[in-house]
Symmetry: C2
Subunit: 202 residues, 2 copies
């Protein structure tokens, strides 16, 4: 088993999905949480000056979704063939689009731009959650292939990020997605992580 170190800030943000995958698999990793002071010195040494970065036996790589896909493959959470992996990747990028629209609206400081972005975030949420709910209902309670994959885990981890920014639970009326959240949060490794992880606001 390789040695893993995740470098990220002391927030959930783009790092928490990666932590959930380690937790699911019961695989040890160093959960380095970089402070603002440490980041000043560290930033120019990181690939593309960004976090999260994963070190695998000392080799560094950036980009949270790429890291999740790699770990999912190692931990038995990928699809059973190329087509299932395509379906998973499409769902993952769709979730990422939704997340980006919501986070970008929440962070926008220019009033006129923010109003437009909030409207788009609301419309996208309604459409995407409706479609994802249909997919889960047609798929035995999972997003792809009728079984647990990293798409399920990343979706549920993403709800933690987007719900506070929308000021509500965006799956409140989607029974299938609510059941999926309960299922994922009840997985032994995830459940243990939720109980023991550092308590952070974001």
């Amino acid at each position: 088993m390789p040695t893993y170190k995740l470098m990220y800030f002391n927030i959930k943000g783009l790092g928490e999905s990666i932590r959930w995958l380690f937790a699911y698999a019961g695989v040890d990793f160093e959960d380095q949480r970089v402070s603002a002071d440490e980041w000043k010195a560290l930033k120019p040494t990181m690939p593309f000056n960004q976090l999260p970065v994963l070190e695998v036996d000392g080799k560094r790589v950036n980009q949270s979704t790429a890291i999740c896909r790699y770990l999912a493959k190692q931990f038995g959470l990928a699809g059973k063939d190329d087509w299932e992996n395509l379906e998973i990747d499409a769902i993952i990028d769709t979730i990422s689009d939704l997340r980006t629209k919501i986070v970008s609206a929440a962070h926008e400081r220019v009033a006129e731009a923010k109003a437009e972005k909030l409207k788009l975030a609301e419309e996208t949420t309604e459409l995407f959650i409706g479609r994802l709910e249909k997919i889960v209902k047609a798929n035995g309670g999972h997003l792809v292939g009728g079984k647990i994959t990293w798409a399920d885990i990343i979706f549920v981890a993403t709800l933690e990020i987007v719900n506070p920014r929308m000021g509500r639970d965006i799956v409140e009326k989607a029974e299938g997605l609510k059941a999926l959240r309960h299922k994922v949060q009840s997985l032994p490794g995830i459940k243990a992580w939720l109980a023991k992880r550092p308590n952070t606001e974001h």
Copy 2:
């Protein structure tokens, strides 16, 4: 060989990278270009109401990057192992981040927000192109693994999208990346596609 149909608008946009992969591989596909009028009726029938969508033997899937990853695998443009695929995926998402920042700045209509976004686009371009240039030079003229992968093709196809929006050639001073562009554009399938494709402004 399956039957492929790409559904997208009559622009390069998010569909052109997919077309380049078919062209590279010499694989036939129906290049359906949806007009604004047709789109009104088609939109609600598409997964997540978006294009591009690829049909493979009639099965539909959305998300351009997911589609490219799948086709790259079928066409021998993926990495040789999980680690190379992780490196490719990280580069692909880094290119996508750069593209998003540039396109988002170009499309922003609110003046104050646009100024901020243009500044971010300039800074990100300088940093990312500098780092990608180092990677290409350390890597035998390619982005990953010292050989052609879909990361090379998507990078070069993306230059067509971002350069007009930046008003300049962003790899002008990056000799390694310029050589990579020349190499990719000279691949027989890509070269033939560039000569025969519909002429579109965007």
